[in-house]
């Protein structure tokens, strides 16, 4: 399914420790001050399939964030890692355990890896994790007008994405308008996620009350082939990789995976029965790897 042979790169990620300035508070949309919880690092008790507004948290991801101490290496780790890549713990109490990349976050760059909660509880910030980064350059030969990003072939095979005759058909939880695209707009789609400006009190207004971690969502009038921005008639599909945020302009985060112009994709939204990146899909992807042991 590629234009040429994909190249895999073994990268080193370091399990993040959350960081804060000298001041504990962030300011919410409401003007209230709050202490951000779950904003990076190892987060327990948040999983694929949980609602994006279920937790009292800020940008909490269902797993572990990886970074690198060198900013340029961190940018490469973020840019090259793709959803569906295998991650193997190399040091500490969980050495040998495997997880699967589900997406990434922007700004300085973080790779989000799903591990089971038992593995997460045994990890420690600073532990080393190898990521077999593969997927940038992936293309759909029968659909050259649909651009693929941030996605491994193994995960693509297990997502509700049908290729073949005519348009690419993509199953999603819901379709959201471009005006809800917040932080991440104007940034490169291989290095940032798109925060949706949807919150617990406005989700119903947009039909996003069932939105879950790991879902696919479609964003109308958004082109994410290079930088992310407004283009009438275009659609971007992405994976929901972290939960909501009290910050203005922030909210559940989406790692873009597909972008196409008018007529190139048919979006099949199913608010109830949609299944995107689930714990089962992640397990299948990990098991499909040669030599993967869980």
């Amino acid at each position: 399914m590629t234009a040429g042979r994909l190249v895999a790169n073994n990268l080193l990620g370091v399990v993040e420790h959350p960081s804060s300035g000298g001041h504990p508070y962030q300011v919410a949309r409401s003007g209230e001050s709050y202490v951000p919880v779950g904003d990076g690092g190892i987060v327990l008790g948040v999983d694929l399939g949980d609602g994006v507004f279920d937790h009292v948290a800020d940008h909490a991801a269902p797993g572990v964030c990886l970074v690198h101490p060198d900013p340029a290496a961190r940018a490469s780790l973020t840019g090259l890692s793709c959803a569906g890549n295998l991650a193997t713990v190399r040091s500490g109490g969980q050495a040998g355990a495997t997880g699967v990349v589900i997406g990434k976050r922007g700004e300085s760059g973080r790779v989000i890896v799903h591990f089971g909660d038992d593995v997460r509880a045994g990890l420690r910030p600073g532990d080393h994790v190898a990521v077999r980064a593969e997927g940038q350059g992936l293309a759909l030969p029968e659909h050259p007008d649909v651009t693929v990003a941030n996605l491994s072939p193994a995960l693509l095979d297990r997502l509700p994405v049908r290729t073949g005759n005519g348009a690419v058909v993509v199953g999603v939880r819901c379709v959201l308008p471009s005006m809800l695209v917040g932080n991440g707009v104007g940034r490169p789609s291989v290095a940032w996620d798109i925060d949706l400006q949807v919150h617990a009190d406005t989700a119903e207004r947009w039909g996003a009350q069932e939105l879950r971690l790991g879902d696919l969502v479609a964003l109308s009038d958004v082109d994410a082939r290079w930088n992310i921005g407004y283009r009438r008639g275009w659609t971007t599909v992405g994976i929901v990789v972290h939960g909501g945020s009290p910050l203005p302009g922030h909210g559940p985060g989406v790692t873009p995976i597909l972008s196409g112009g008018p007529g190139t994709m048919v979006i099949d939204a199913d608010a109830r029965a949609h299944r995107g990146v689930t714990a089962r899909v992640v397990e299948e992807v990990a098991d499909a790897r040669p030599g993967a042991s869980r």
């Binding site: 003007g31 471009s178 005006m179 925060d195 400006q197 406005t202 009038d221 283009r231 009438r232």
Partner: protein, 289 residues
Amino acid sequence: MKVETNAGAVVTQVLSGEVWPPLSDRHAFRVDPDGRPFSLPGMGGVTLGVHCGDPATGYAGDHVEPGLSVRHRDPDANMALQFLTCVGNVVRVADGPAAGAEGFVIGQHAYVLVDLPEDRMQQVATGDGVTVFAVGQGLRLLEHPAIRVKNCSPDLVASMPGATLGDGRLEVHVAAVVPPEAVGAGSGMISEYANTDLMGAYAGLGDDLSLGLEGLRVGDLVALTDQDHSYGRGYREGHLTVGVISTGHCMLFGHGPGPSSLLSGPAEAFSVVVDQDANLGTFFAEGRS
């Protein structure tokens, strides 16, 4: 603006900064909305020939920053400079052949942006120091508690057209009303730093990119529909933010002419009058010279 404020209570701080050079890396090129590479001037340094009232778009540039682009060398002092400086603040050139020349702040864009008369601007080079008389943070409109004042000098509020209306709303004049689809990079950032890039103003590129904003001018006041900039910048249905276009043309996708945030509150607290003269160059710069 005929409006009661607490201007007598706000405090002025004398700050320093220097005209900061444009910054680049060895990769040089970035990509436009169609994936084409470009390498163009815009951010940083002394950008000549673009002043309040001039078109914001139509330049062979990216993130055109009119006039002087100013930072402080110390990172923490720089953040204080960016947060405390308000649109309309007086800036005096401290060093070099233009020493003593006075201009005013037109906005923020990770730099403090300063308009000077063109003949004095010609004499400034990167590295020259400037003095900023920072005043405005803490300013309130006493009869409009729902509206938050952001980055406005008391002089600017006094010079803006508009007034408190009999029904309690605040009349504001803007040159353009901006739809929420146009809001690009800058969303999710704090409202005392940088600005909000507007998409849909890529003059000369595809129709599917246009939101009808190609006519914006530097210094235009604009009304951003469904935007709440009270405590940062984000989408909020039923809110309104008034800003001033402080940066111009972008080729980088998801970016564009940018308003610095001035006033924000529930839409029903405002009465918006579309007025082509609602430009800093009309009601502020001329009054100062």
